[in-house]
């Protein structure tokens, strides 16, 4: 910013403005983001490692942790396959209602998780549309694990498709057509040409899906029934401990989730850096 150093003594106006904007922006981030998150790390480890260890190894905490991982292990692969399929359909297919399908995929971003939970209860619940049929076949969806999986899958639905579509568009169809001309079946083309081309977009989508699936609260809170040691996921456990005045238990579980979130952040950054480095070549 050399153009405005018109012989000013000390700080030039531009430099002063820059510094104050920087201070303002960074203070806002510090007060809203960094200090609160730092605070709960401090609160958690304030009393030493002993209470933290017993909070982590409490049976309900351990159960909630594994349940959350189980949900992620089912919902994320489901959404990955579905997301790639939808992305291919939207980017390579030609059919009526394509724009509508595109909007439908983004719908979970516009709907409150609570509303997703309610909608699922209205379909799969006791008095819901499929309630009688499911009960007749001995399947319980609401207040059990299948319901949590469905709720998690719905709220994290758009990520893989969203991240894959632009990569697919950029990739173009040249190499796919070349493969087809050389006699490759559509299956060979997909596994050998398309998928390797879009893999980093897919991985980025998977990271976002995992973070969302792990942290989902509103929808899961409604469909799970929040039964301790049975349908209580880790975020639900945090609420339960907090409302039962067990702040160590709540803070410790929150820190576990925060660490997983920081891991996600790290993965996202490494992936963007890789993409950028590749583009620069």
């Amino acid at each position: 910013m050399s153009y405005s150093s018109q012989g000013a003594v000390g700080l030039s106006p531009t430099r002063a403005m820059k510094l104050s904007v920087r201070t303002l922006a960074l203070s806002y981030l510090a007060l809203l983001l960094v200090a609160p998150v730092g605070m709960i790390f401090y609160h958690t480890f304030e009393g030493g490692l002993g209470p933290v260890w017993s909070a982590v190894s409490a049976p309900n905490a351990v159960h909630a942790f594994w349940l959350s991982l189980e949900i992620v292990a089912i919902a994320v692969p489901l959404n990955t396959v579905f997301g790639i399929g939808i992305a291919l359909l939207l980017e390579r297919g030609r059919f009526r209602g394509k724009a509508l399908l595109g909007m439908l995929i983004d719908l979970p971003f516009a709907i409150s998780p609570v509303v997703v939970g309610l909608a699922l209860v209205l379909v799969y619940g006791k008095t819901g549309w499929l309630g009688n049929w499911l009960a007749g076949h001995g399947i319980q969806v609401i207040f059990s694990v299948p319901g949590i999986v469905i709720a998690t899958a719905v709220v994290s639905l758009p990520f893989v498709a969203r991240e894959t579509i632009p990569v697919l568009r950029e990739l173009g169809t040249d190499s796919e057509q070349a493969a087809a001309t050389l006699g490759a079946s559509w299956r060979q083309t997909f596994w050998r040409v398309t998928l390797p081309g879009i893999r980093w977009g897919v991985v980025y989508g998977v990271v976002l899906t995992t973070a969302r699936a792990l942290g989902e609260f509103g929808a899961v809170s409604i469909v799970s029934g929040r039964i301790e040691g049975q349908t209580q996921t880790l975020p639900l456990y945090v609420q339960d401990r907090f409302e039962n005045f067990d702040s160590t238990g709540a803070y410790t579980a929150a820190v576990v989730l925060a660490l997983l979130a920081l891991g996600t952040l790290l993965a996202m950054n490494l992936l963007t850096r890789r993409t950028r480095a590749r583009k620069a070549l």
């Binding site: 609160p36 409150s112 609260f217 945090v238």
Partner: protein
């Protein structure tokens, strides 16, 4: 996806328009809906200002640790919402180490919503600012325009579409937010109860028609804003470029 939404619409309209209006105009429901829209509107204005400032600092400024700050912006997306609530409560709740206690007040709703919607404006303005041609700004400056004039006449107009798009996304998110509000707002009817919390309460009371009616209102508010965004961006790409 279609089936649950269809079930929701069917439930909301099962009693006809009059039943729908009765549910929506119930004083508690109405208060919750109004509060949701008002706080969301305030939050997106703050987001527009600070989001743009942060994006500007991340693109145009240089300081040590900038890449860490840049990575931290996405933290609210990665952090589970319930953790966001508990984290804010630890610093700005009862027994706050800095002496600020907003728990169970309307300010707490705004605080939680600001936290969870922080990335939207920053992440939509940042790439546009990065691509912005600086020669126009330099030309204006060399013709004698002060930094504020350059900002107002040259930089802001090119950023407006990105700011609007970030604002629309934050608004949709704010209207539906639930997890981060559970612990910090206390869910007090007529005071800190927002729409999503009201819906949750009605589901717990097995009053599904009321829950469905307010859900539809929230959904329409979010869709209206996102729909307007699509129309505006479509109109712009036709008429400006």
């Amino acid at each position: 996806m279609l089936l649950p939404v269809a079930a929701l619409l069917a439930k909301a309209s099962s009693g006809g328009t009059s039943a729908f209006w009765r549910e929506v105009s119930n004083p508690e429901a109405l208060a919750a809906i109004k509060l949701t829209l008002a706080v969301s509107a305030i939050v997106v204005v703050v987001n527009a200002i600070f989001g743009t400032l942060i994006a500007w600092v991340l693109v145009r400024d240089e300081f040590p640790g900038k890449s860490v700050v840049n990575a931290l912006i996405d933290l609210p997306f990665a952090l589970p919402t319930i953790v966001a609530g508990i984290v804010l409560l630890a610093l700005y709740g009862k027994g706050s180490p800095v002496g600020v206690d907003v728990a169970f007040t309307r300010a707490s709703i705004a605080l939680a919503l600001l936290f969870v919607t922080l990335p939207f404006v920053v992440r939509s303005v940042q790439p546009v600012l990065l691509e912005l041609d600086r020669s126009m700004e330099e030309a204006a400056a060399s013709l004698g325009a002060g930094p504020l004039t350059v900002l107002r006449r040259i930089v802001l107009p090119s950023l407006t579409p990105a700011i609007v798009s970030g604002v629309a996304l934050s608004f949709a998110r704010a209207v539906g937010e639930y997890g981060s509000l559970v612990l910090i707002t206390g869910e007090l009817p007529f005071k800190t109860e927002v729409g999503s919390v009201y819906v949750f309460g009605q589901i717990s009371n097995e009053n599904l028609p009321a829950a469905a009616a307010v859900s539809v209102v929230l959904l329409l508010a979010a869709l209206a804003v996102l729909g307007a965004l699509t129309l505006v961006s479509r109109w712009r790409s036709k008429h400006v470029l």
